[in-house]
Every structure is written in structure tokens, then in C-alpha cells.
Amino acid sequence: MFWKKFALFVIALVVIFFVSHSIVLATAVDRNGFCNLEGSPGQTIKLNITLEGTTPEERTGFWDVFYKKVAGDNERMDISSWITIQPKEYTIKQGETKVFNLEIKIPKNVEPGLWGAISEEACKEGHSNDRRTYLIFKDVITGGHVYSGLLLPISVKVIKSPNLLVRAMNFVKQNLLTLVLAIVVIILLVIILARRPARQVK
């Protein structure tokens, strides 16, 4: 009797496992937004984004950029012209992952501040009204006409171009240890070279 119940329990577990795993969704993406990316005027921000195929059928899709126009928006809200993604079109199969190169080229003449959204909270849940510029991917069973996809918000925090002194300071900070060791080596070399001519004179 016990073994019968045990066997039924195991069968039920197996059924639950397979049923729960048979609900296959569509294409998956590794990020649900790109908010507060930092860069200075003239700089190009480069990122990767990965899609994963989860459905049995091959899907064909493409990337798009979208600006959600809202009355009263200023020029800072539409940064769709800054964005490029390569490759723009794709096909994806179940279990396959594809990496795309996202580039956001900040124009040289833009003012510092937040661009592409009205707040730095735009990617957070409950802040859909703060979003303006989106990256979109959408795909369909190859040959079909019913697409599904996601809207991924994008915003950029444009910072002032650092001057030469700041750049030099940053370089020193990042390479402090190497610089100290290089100085020690140079001092050693100078001492060694300084001693040699003295001996020759003697």
C-alpha cells in the first residue's frame, strides 16, 4: 500500500515537472532597459545585448528605435538618432543566443544632463511615464505576421568633457602602482649609471 502511494506521488511530481516546463515563452533578453548611461559629448557608448531563443520554431525579427512623444516634451527626450544596433535583423532558434552591438553616439554639441527620459528612475518599475526613448526588438515565427517583442527604455546622462588635468589625474589614479614601480626602477637605473663613470675616473 505504501509503495503504491509512493509510486503515485513520484508520478505526480514528474507530471508537475513536465507540465511546468512545457509552458515555453518567446524570445528572452538579458536586460530590460539601459538607463542613466554616462558619457561626454562626442563620446560613443558601446554595449552588448543578448537574445536567447526559447521556442521550438525558428523566429525572425529585427531591432527598432522608438520615441514616445508626449505633449510638452523638450528636445532632450528624443535620442533615437543617437542609437544604432548591429546586426539589425536576426533569426533565432531554441537554445540559441545571439549578441548584438549597441552603440549610442552622443553628439558633440549637447548640453550636460539627462537625455531620453524625464527622470533617473525611468527603468524602475512604476516609472513607465518617465520613459521617452526606447529600443525595441520583435520577432515572429518565420513566415508569420503576428510579432511579439519588448520595449527597452534608454536614457543617457551626458557629463561635461573632462579637461586635460582631470584626465591626467584619472590616469595617475588608475595606474598608481605601475607608476610608483616605474619611478623606483628609473631611480635605480640612474644610481647605477651614475656610479659607473665615477669608477672609470678613478
Binding site: 524570445t27 538579458d30 513607465s128 503576428v146 510579432y147 511579439s148 517583442g149 519588448l150 656610479r195
Partner: protein, 185 residues
Amino acid sequence: MRKSILLLTGNLILVLVLIVSVTVLAANTAEQQASTKKATTIAIKDQSGATDVSTITFPEGDPGSEVTQPYNNVNGSGSPQVFGASSTPVVQLITSTTYNLWWKVSEGSGWDTAVADENCYITDSTGVTKSTFDTNKSTLSTWGTQTNTGQQVTTSKKYFYLTIDLENVGGKSGTSTLEVLGETP
């Protein structure tokens, strides 16, 4: 000369002390772990929610009328959308998370001349009357633009209904692509 060597040795010791102290400080950490799951698009499935759908077809209608019985390619023309006490959606939208629902209809060929408006409604109810649909529907009359339906798709709110309003001119037919997009609320 000795002074120089002593000075040099002192400098080296100082550098070593700095490196060692940095190493010691870096080791004084506690490991934490966190992970995020991937975002997944909305799956467009047949009326039972089992099989992916690739096309939706609206049957022929009188000029100026509303076509309320579209069908998907999996269930076929024998099982169209039905309104009423035991309603049947045209498709189910399956998702593992809640999304704001956007949609877009793009002209294929002749859609603009045959169709005036397209309407959609998503619900968790299985008794959707035409009156409920009309009260809650989102309407598109401009093709090729992403539009927020003002509705949300959730794990339970998945029954998707569609209708079209035909133009007043007879003898027209058209094709289009339908996009169903999700946005984190």
C-alpha cells in the same frame, strides 16, 4: 653612497608596505550573491494557450460593418473568436510577468483601403460580451505607430480579443502585420 642605498631601500620598503596593506584591505570583504532573471517577450498562443500562432485572419464582412470573428492559424476557421457568456478569444497572450501592453498594426498591402479601425481587449474573464469589449477596447486607426493599449497583460489576464471596422467601400481586401509588445510597468 651608503646613504643613497639606505634611501633606496627605505623607498622600496615603503612601496612594499603600501602594496601589502592594499592586499590586506582588499581581502577584508564578505561575499554577497544576487541574480536577475531574463525578460521574456509575450508568447502569442492559440485559444488553449498551447501552440504558437503565426497568423490571424478576419473573414469577409459587409462594407462599414465590424468583423468580430477572427481566427488564428492553429485553431482554424472552424473555431473563431466568440463573444458571450462562454466567450472564446482569438488568441491567448502568455507571459510570466506583468507588462504594459502596446500594439502596432503595419500596412501590408491594401489594409488601409479595406480597414478603418482595429480594436483589442485583454481580460482574465471567460465571459466577455460584445458590450464589455466595446467599453474596454483600445482602438487603432493609424497604422504603423506603436500605441499603448492602456491595458496590462498578466499571468492570468491573457485572453486577447480583436475586431476590425471595415471601410464603406466593397470589394477590398488587405494584409497587415500585428505587433504585440510588452513594457515593464
